[in-house]
Subunit: 370 residues, 2 copies
């Protein structure tokens, strides 16, 4: 089986590595060849609006998918008829636009922070009057890892926020005082089979996912999250993995955003679930039976952002699993890899995570001291 | 890090897939490119005695290893000085010759079936006089998966066995009436760190491994097996994964053969142990800390020999993991893939294995009936 994957980042890389044992080969498409995906599988290089090249790719694939959320929807729809495209371009179009995304949540009765579209400085002032402060001004499109966001806490922030982001379609959202951030990863197959992973609890630093602990055991929230995800999945007759990030505020789930793809908060499923999100995404888009989404023990995932730790130091802790994305260039804020550890209890997991974090910090200090 | 791997079979393929997340790239060497390994990583093609090509490969590698037991030892030793070679050629030389292997077991005090070297028809008759019948006549070299073996049960078999195998260096071994077959996989790192997996219980059909269940919990045998493996590892100052297959007869371990590499009876460690044999082999030969060899639950591994089952049927059982080696040509007796399942108890594991076997048999019948 051959799966064409638009985008060859770390998500595509982990999809390819999940595919090989199943007899599935990914062929990547990206602007340059030396990408995390291109290092582990064949890659065709080109721009994402080069329809001739994209069609060539689609024609030799059994199914087309993507690992990058900003693939132009028009490029995907141009491939219709050449190969099935999963997840559906319609779901991607909504996920690419914070306004459409929020409107969908409202339409389906999924709680989400109050919001207003902002096209002008006056719109912004009007939105603040209605929603109040603090709030967050965000670009509707192309935002990720906290990029394209400005948090407003006092009236004097308005002008600064507008000068930082004004001139493009924006959205102003109420700021949610949350106690936790969680995400639910669900998968729906071509044959409408549905499966849900246990909730993950996420911790962000500077807008970027820093660590995930799973399963986050809260049966009532789990049931509610599954109901929300099912509504979105069935709305699109969605095929593949879908993730929704939620705030937990006053014990309730408030949807923050959705990702029509495998998700950083599901990396723990490689070691920590019976079937990984990557394998299940492939099974789903190929119409195969889904694998069990059950957790195996208690997992923690730690992102490596901006730099990778020393491999040997990291691996001294015998249950730690390293995932190096093979990126040649380290930049601040760039996700270069992650580590996962799995324990028999949440207590043992928390202890192991603390040990690992301490170990990595002390290495960093040593490196600096030299 | 770059590891050169001589041989690009399924073992190499699984080594490569274990390497990518660690930031390790394997470069394969084999006669043809479209091999299980060559499908997932770069490959240089050539004959195994083409020293110029092999030297080119070794020069750009951080370490040289092999996934094929019949790599000419001379080709490996010719690479000395260009890169470290692990496991050591001296261990490979012994493993390639059943006589040297058995002599090593005797030298180290590891119980092994009685044996005599056989160079002539008279040698064979003399060996039978000493050891008796039944016994097994084996070629000293190049035997695997039950090939190059002849079982003698009555005096009239002698002439037949000689005409089948005579004319090459042979060994005649006592036949062991065993109750079980088990194997122990151990790993020793460049830094002399040692680790042992739990014993696996193996079942062979027609001389080929059919299925493995692990862990086989027998603390006294585990301790004894670890002691035997340690003696062999320390004898060679071995680096990498080493496997010894044992018969269990009258509650005692009797060493059958050793393999200086990752082993089919350790495939369950991918899902069923904290760190797989493949990852630990790479960690060992690179001088990295070893990962935990602890079992996670109770695993069963089922080999697919001669044909692969229908993927979708196989994956209907939600906890089953497929490993397709990507071999283009199915031949009787050829290992094309395997499946692993992991359960919370040995009882649940045995039930799941039975269910899977039954399911695969019924599919086969259906396929035939069509």
């Amino acid at each position: 089986m051959k799966v064409a994957c638009l985008g060859a980042g770390q998500l595509g890389r982990m999809l390819a590595l999940a595919g090989y044992p199943l007899g599935i080969e990914l062929e990547f498409y990206d602007r340059t060849a030396d990408t995390p995906g291109g290092q582990v599988g064949p890659i065709l290089t080109g721009e994402f609006d080069d329809l001739n090249k994209l069609k060539k790719l689609a024609r030799r694939a059994d199914v087309v998918t993507f690992d990058w959320e900003n693939v132009p929807v028009g490029s995907l729809t141009a491939l219709k008829g050449l190969a099935p495209i999963y997840p559906q371009p319609a779901a991607l179009a909504v996920a690419q636009d914070r306004l459409l995304e929020k409107k969908l949540f409202v339409q389906l009765g999924i709680p989400t922070p109050g919001f207003f579209a902002v096209e002008s400085h006056d719109d912004l002032k009007a939105a603040i009057t209605k929603i109040g402060l603090p709030g967050i001004l965000k670009t509707r499109r192309m935002g990720y890892d906290g990029k394209g966001q400005y948090r407003l806490t006092k009236p004097s922030d308005v002008a600064k926020a507008w000068s930082a982001l004004g001139g493009q379609p924006l959205i102003y959202e109420a700021f949610i005082h949350f106690s936790r951030e969680v995400s639910l990863i669900a998968v729906r197959s071509q044959k409408a089979e549905l499966a849900y992973y246990p909730l993950s609890e996420n911790s962000h630093h500077d807008g970027i996912l820093h660590s995930t602990c799973a399963p986050f055991k809260a049966p009532a929230l789990q049931r509610k999250a599954e109901r929300y995800l099912r509504m979105v999945l069935e709305h699109f007759r969605y095929v593949g993995v879908l993730t929704i990030e939620f705030f937990v505020a006053d014990g309730q789930l408030v949807a923050n955003e959705m990702a029509p793809r495998v998700h950083n908060s599901g990396h723990w499923t490689i070691e920590g679930a019976v079937t990984s999100q990557f394998e299940n995404h492939l099974r789903a888009i190929l119409g195969w039976p889904l694998g069990s989404t059950q957790a195996r023990g208690y997992s923690a995932m730690l992102n490596f952002i901006g730099s990778l730790p020393d491999r040997q130091t990291l691996l001294t802790q015998p249950g730690v699993h390293l995932h190096d994305y093979g990126k040649r260039e380290a930049r601040p804020g760039r996700k270069l890899g992650h580590a996962t550890l799995v324990a028999d209890s949440s207590l043992a997991r928390d202890r192991a995570l603390k040990l690992l974090s301490r170990q990595l910090k002390s290495t960093k200090r040593q490196t600096r001291a030299r």
